[in-house]
Structures are given as C-alpha cells and as structure tokens.
C-alpha cells in the first residue's frame, strides 16, 4: 500500500515518523524531560485551580462581610456612609488557573469612597518576596518558557544530526524524499507533543468543569479553543524554527547553539527590551507629577481657571435665586448635599480625563510590544494568553471602570437622599438603616470573548504568520537539504 499525498508517500512519512518516535522513546534524557514537563504542567494546573478556588471563596466571603457591614453601619449622615464606603472585589476568571497573567501586579480590590476615584489596591506581588518576579509556576509560563527548549531538544538534530551521522545521505539514497523526511519528523514531533499536552489539556478541562462559582462559564469552551489554537501556533513556530535551522546548520552543535540562543533572546531578553522601549517611547508619568496634576485640576478645574470655591459660590447664588430665599438654611433642599454632588461631578470629569490619558499611554506602550512580537512570538502568545484568560490589563481596567460606575451610583444616591431629606440639617441629618439596604450591590460582568478578540486578533494573526513563515521556510529548505 503506497498512498500518496501530493508528491509525498504516506508510507514513507509514517515509517520516518515511527523511527523518530522509537528514537525519542529510547532516549532516556528526552523521556525524563517529557515526564518532568508533564508533571510540572499537572502540578501547575492543580496549584492554579486550588489557588483560584481559595481566592474565589475568600472573595465571596469578603463581599458578604462588606455588604453586611454596610447594611448594619447604623443610623448616620448619608455623607458619613459615603465615606464608610464599600469595597469592590475583583473576581478571578476560571481560566486564571491556566494563566494568572498580571493578577499579582494589578491589585484585587477597589475602595469605593466619596470624592475619590481609586485604582485597585493591594498587589499580591508586593507581599510575595523577591523571587516572585523570577517566575510563578503556572501552565502558561511552562508552555511559554519551558516547552520551547523541550521542542528544540526534540528537533534540533532532526536533519543536522542525520547529516553528522551520515544517515541523511543514506536515507536520500534509499529514495526517501527530503519532504517526506520533513513530514515524517514533523508528524513525530506533533505526536510527542500531543502525547504530553493532550492529557494536560484533559486535566485542565476537568478542573474547569469542577470550578465552583456563579460566573457565566458559557464562553469558556470558546476561550479554551482560542488558547489551544494560540499555543498550538506558538509551539508549531518553535518546531518550525528548529527544523529550519537544523536543515541549514553545518552541525547539530551549531544548530543547538543557534536555537538556544534564539530561545533565550526571544524569551528572556526581548520582553524586557519591549518594556524598556515602550517606556522610552511613551513614558509613564511619575506619581508625583500625575497626582499633582490631578489635585490641581480638582482645585482649579480642567481649564485651570475654575476654582471650586468660585463654582460653589455661583451654585449657591443660582439656588438661592431659584428658590427665592436669602439663606441656604432656608432652602427646601440640603445645600450641603447639592455642593457634595456638584463636587463629585466635577471630580468625575477630572478623574476620567487623567486616568483615560494614563490608559491611553499604556495602550501606546502595548503597541510597541505588539511590534516586537514580530521578532519574538513569545510576546504575542503572552499577550493573547493573558487576554483570553481574563488576566490582562484590559480586563483589569474594565473592572476598575465598572467599580467606578458603581461608586458614582452609590455616592449619587446618598447625595440625592441628603439633598431631598436633609434640608436645614445638612450634616446633622441622620438617615436610617433602610437607606443602606437600598444601595445596590456591585455586580460585575467581565468583557466578552468577542471584545477580547477585537483587541487581540493581531496577536493571533502574528502567530499564524510566524507559523506559516517558518514552515514555508522549512519546506523550501527541505527541497534540497545539505547532504553532508
């Protein structure tokens, strides 16, 4: 039986594949490394699942305590309740067990208080010790950092080793075409990686299925598929580069050195270079500068000529005229409440202006990272992986904005209540607990997969372009490989 796929004989391809698999299974070092990588993947998934489960349980408990505390804060002035505040706790998506992404570096809770838009507080990385940045064991990190050298070890001697041993000439002399050889070796690589990764994917699917929680899990299969495609393209790229280099290298040693060098530069050095270039091109404002500008605009207005005191006096004059009274104490509404709400709305514009400018700067920095992913596919897969797992900056900002919208709702409700009921008493007015029960709880829906892909489809395209390019290159080189 000698079926053909185009110009390839499937029989030859399968024989080559079989031979490669036998060689891999006989190589004790490779078997050990494969087992080690598989164990690490399983350990990382289990550890990620447990961590996520524990954090999720704590978040629910904390939300309950926060809500109960808020409801039972006792009778007090509504503005005191606005300062008593609430906390919005960020939920961790189910796929965080696979890729916790930036979770340790962005904070887990937003304090919702009067007068001030807060970003998330309490970055776990600050409390975790200095080894945290060296690397956190998770499945994504293993696939991005450790799987590529494993693929390189499997593939670097595919052609260069055969050439050194003199078996390449023999194989070509036997009538095996170089492309059949290439296809057979590629198939063997795929089978080996599949044998490692498919069971790990099975474990990941089981753990996802066992996730507790009330989040909408309906898009998890689609997100998982995108992750599989992304990582498949990434590892395909690494394999293609290894094979292409092996085809062209004079020796297995030079192929290995070149490939390890490429891996180290693209994985270790280029992400940091991307960070440095992004910071050089679009520097993040310093804290002092940023907060000084924020405070100035809060005082003087966005145009710099509208101090709050003047606005407050103008507002007072308008209200007195509108209600035909001479003193704020005679107003049928609480002037203190009106002033508070005016101050809040002024603050909303200032905070939006400054934080959106900051986030636009971050977006520009990410464009630099995207450009460098044309050189390092690891940068592309890292961005895509975090985005699909819901652990990137976009998801975090989405949460912060949702928390801010909720803060404005709460503070607006409390101020309006004070305005309507606190006439003549202002800060002496005491509201009962019935008011706190009316304040809605914070409900959060993360962005959809469609929104994520709308931002990150370029990374998918880049990975696809990488995989297609390197395999086209390998295919071309295999047309006439160096026999000696």
């Amino acid at each position: 039986m000698n079926s053909r796929l185009g110009k390839l004989s499937m029989f030859a391809v399968l024989r080559v594949c079989r031979k490669e698999l036998v060689a891999i299974t006989r190589d004790g070092r490779l078997k050990t490394l494969a087992l080690l990588l598989f164990s690490l993947l399983c350990a990382a998934l289990l550890s990620g699942w447990q961590t996520r489960r524990d954090l999720d349980a704590e978040r629910r408990a904390a939300e309950h305590v926060d809500a109960e505390s808020y409801r039972s804060q006792g009778a007090r002035n509504p503005h005191d309740a606005a300062h008593f505040g609430q906390t919005a706790f960020k939920p961790l998506g189910p796929l965080a067990l696979f890729d916790p992404g930036l979770v340790s570096y962005v904070g887990s809770a937003v304090w919702l208080e009067a007068h001030r838009m807060n970003l998330a507080e309490y970055r776990p990385a600050e409390d975790a010790g200095e080894n945290h940045r060296f690397g956190s064991l998770c499945a994504a990190w293993l696939l991005q950092w450790i799987a590529p050298p494993f693929v390189i070890l499997l593939a670097y001697h595919a052609f260069a080793g055969e050439r050194e041993r003199g078996t390449l000439r023999l194989l070509l002399g036997l009538g095996v075409s170089p492309r059949e050889l290439l296809a057979g070796k590629l198939l063997a690589l795929t089978v080996t990686l599949g044998a490692l990764l498919i069971p790990a994917m099975g474990l990941a699917s089981l753990l996802l299925f066992l996730q507790e929680g009330t989040e909408d899990l309906s898009d998890i299969p689609a997100r998982s598929l995108v992750l599989c495609v992304g990582y498949g393209l990434y590892l395909c790229t690494v394999a293609g580069i290894a094979i292409a280099v092996s085809l062209q290298s004079a020796s297995a040693r030079s192929a290995l050195i070149a490939l390890l060098g490429y891996w180290l530069i693209t994985t270790l050095v280029l992400p940091r270079v991307a960070t440095e270039l992004a910071e050089l091109a679009f520097p993040t404002p310093g804290n002092a500068e940023f907060h000084a500008a924020l405070e100035r605009d809060l005082r003087e207005g966005l145009n710099g000529h509208d101090p709050f005191e003047a606005s407050a006096r103008a507002l007072e004059a308008r209200l007195l005229e509108r209600y035909g009274v001479r003193r704020t104490e005679d107003l049928p509404v609480s002037f203190a409440g009106v002033l508070l709400q005016a101050g809040e709305e002024r603050g909303y514009r200032v905070f939006e202006n400054h934080y959106r400018a900051l986030w636009a700067r971050y977006d520009a920095q990410e464009r630099i990272h995207r450009v460098l992913s044309l050189v390092s596919p690891m940068i592309a897969i890292r961005s895509l992986s975090m985005a699909v797992a819901g652990t990137d900056r976009f998801h975090h900002e989405h949460f912060v904005l949702a928390a801010e919208a909720h803060r404005r709702r709460i503070v607006g409700m409390l101020n309006r209540y004070l305005i309507e009921h606190g006439a003549g008493q202002d800060f002496n007015y005491i509201a009962g607990e019935a008011l706190w029960a009316e304040i809605p709880r914070f409900e959060y829906r993360p962005p959809s997969l469609r929104q994520v892909l709308a931002r990150h489809y370029p990374e998918l395209l880049i990975l696809f372009a990488w995989a297609a390019s390197v395999w086209w290159l390998a295919w071309r080189y295999s047309r006439s490989p160096r026999p000696m």
């Binding site: 350990a43 975790a128 050194e164």
Partner: protein, 473 residues
Amino acid sequence: MQPSMRFMRCEWRLLRAQPSFWLLTGLLATASLYAGISGVAWHRTRSAEVAMTLQQAAHEQAADRAYLTDFTEGRIRLDEDPLAALPTAIGRRVVLPPGPLSALAIGQSDLYPYRTYIDNWSRAERLIRDYPLGHPLSLATGRIDLGFVLVYLLPLCLIALTYDLLAAERESGALGLLLSQPVPVRGLVLARMAVRGAWVLGWLALASGVAFFLACRAGDLVRWLLWLTTAVVYLGLWSGICTLVVSGNRGSEASALTLVGIWVVWLLLMPAFIDVVVRFISPVPSRTEYLSAVRAAEVARSEDEALSDYRRERPGFRLPEGGELRNWIRAFVVHMKADRRITPVHASYEKRIEQGLALSACLRFFSPGLVAQGVLTDLAGSSLARQRAFTGSVRDFKRAWDGHLADKLVRAERLTLAAYDGLPGFHFREEPIGAVLARIRVPMAFLFAAAAALFLGAIRRLARCPLDRPEGG
C-alpha cells in the same frame, strides 16, 4: 614568564581571533552598558519624583504657615469658619528616596509604593496608597538593570565561552598533543577560565563603575565594592560549574546542554518551585481575607458605642454642643477608635507575611540566582527589607503624628505657629552598612562556599581528564 600567565596570553590571542568571540563581546558590552544607563535613568527619574514630592510638601507647609499666621492675626474668624486652625486637614508628605545603589540593581523597587500622605485620617490598612503608575506588564516583567544582566545574562555568556573549553580539542584529537607539550591540564583549564571570566566580569565592572559615577555618592563606595565582590563570587560560582561540567568526558554539545539545563533549573524552575512551596506551606495571606477582617473590626462597635468607649478612656471628654465642629470631632473619635481596632488585625496580617518571607528566605538557597539577587538588591538598597523598613517608619511616624495632634483635635484646640513648627517631620534613616552586612553574610558565605566546592570538584575531576573523543560524540 609563569606558565599560567603564558597560557592566559595564548588563550587571549586565540579568543581574539574568533569572530564569535567578538559577536558575544558586542552583545555583552551592549547589554552591560545599556543596563548601567537604564539603571542610572531610573534612579534619576525616581530622585526627581522624590524632589518634586519634597517641593510639594514645602509649598504645602508654607501655605499652612501662611494660613495659621492669618488666623493668629485675626484675618480668619471662627464665626465664618468654625474649623479654622484645627488640625483637621493638615498632614505630611512622606517619601522613600531611591536606594544608595539602586542604579545598579532596581530589584522590585519599581513595584513598591514609595510615597504617601499622612494626616489624622490615615488608617492602618491604607497607610501607603500611592502605587507606582507603571504599566502592569512592565511591573511584571521588570527592568533591564545590571542586577538582571549579572544574574541571568552573564552566566549565559560564560557558558557560551566555555562549553567547548576542552571538548573542541578533544573532538578534533588535538587535546592529547596539547597536553603532551607538557601542559598541565589543570593549569590550562583554569587559565582559560580565568581569561574568559575576567573578560565577562570586566564589562560588568566597567558598566557598574560608570553607573556608580553617574548616579551614586562617593560615600557609598564601600557598598559598591561589596556589590562588585558579590558579582565576582557569583560569576566564580558559575565558572566553577562550567569547569566541573567541561572537565568531564562529554562532547561540546552535551556540555552545552548540561550547562543550559543547569541555568534553566537554577534560574527558572527553582524559583518557580520555591514560589509554589511557599504558597502551599506558608501562603501569603490573601488581602481579600484581610479586608474582611478589617471591615469586621471597623463595624465591631457602632458610633455611639465608640463614643462611649472613648468617654470611659477620657472621663473629661465632651462633644461640643452642635454645628460643624461637633460633627467633625464625633467623626474623628469614631475614626480613631476604629483605627485602634484595626491595628491588631493589621499586625497579625503582617506577621503572617513575615512567616512566608522567612520560609522564602530559607528556600532561596536552592537557587544561587535568587541568593545573588537578594544580596545585590540588599546592597543596592532596593530590597524588600528596605521597603518594609520604610513601611515601619511610616507607621512610627503616624503614631508620633497622632500623639501630637489627636488630643488637640478632640479638645478642639486651635493650632499655633509654634505648635505647627513643633510637629514631627518624616525622615527615612538609611540602614547602616553594618546591618546590611549582617543580613548578607550568610548568603555571601553560601555563594563563596558553593563556588569553592565546585572549583575543588572540578580540579579533582581534571586529574582524570580523558584525552580521547567521548563515546557517542
């Protein structure tokens, strides 16, 4: 001429003739010099931030003094502003300057908060709120500084220069001829290693010297010399491991794989493992759980109960009859009592963090990279220990601040200029070098002992160095 000097001269001549050597040198020089300049730039940016914060603080204090002067001279009246000259809204800006050698090793100090504002309303769980504004991806990835170059990249350069130290000649069959000159194999290997190690170290020393000159003070020269010593010992450790591996009966390919494998295990896998082990045995307590505990402590007493508690502590305490002043003082007493209930919650949380960090500190000896990084950042003043010292100083300052002002506010005592000028100011006291040395002596001894042991092992192994091509290539 001494044989070892002759070997080194010959070796230097041979190295210079290889194009790959110059390619590697180009990469090494670029990385080292860039890292040095990057560190200097970061240090200067942070220093500028600190200067801006201090300038802001000076303006605010000048404005406060002008206000109190106006009040004292009667230009501000109590009937117009019942809260005039009360210490309700004054505070102090608090800032941590960059470490003495942070231009050399930024560490994680780009991640830690370094400035805050302390006033009467600051609370234990939110004392330091000003988080650095860097892109989270930048914070997660870290900067290219000399610490990164030394810990991660220089070992790779050493590996690239030494993996075929003997194997190249052994594979070509020339080793036997060379050693028959007669050339002692130990002397040969050590001379070769010395030339390569010195070349690699030389670029780091140059870059760190430039960075020290541009960004550090002359008074920190001893720190810099200790920093360089750490670099020498760390590279010595890697030289030892390279010597041990190449002195075995391995081909160059196998040596390269072994050495890169060791690099991956020591610098990538071990730190990740340590992170997992610490997470299981002594996990960092979750901030979510902490915030729940803080909230529960906050609402443990109602406002009226908090006021009654305070009256029991201070029998003479009376709230003013009505108006804005009564509301402020009432709110402040309730806040003060809540803060006191929260303080032990915070202390318990900090203790659990310390336990996790202590375990991390013990386990780091499984990764020489982690040990070296810890020493480098400690000497540079960009370590977690310094950050925690800063946090501790801020807490002490807050206590001193409350000690001066809390009672005044509760008694509605107006501030005078003299009282204002007598308020405490915040000054972060840099740890004396002796305290840093006490912390780094064990890790330095470990690195030194490991380097010595590896070299001894290599020297013994060289005595049995095979001359023939290894079997299986």
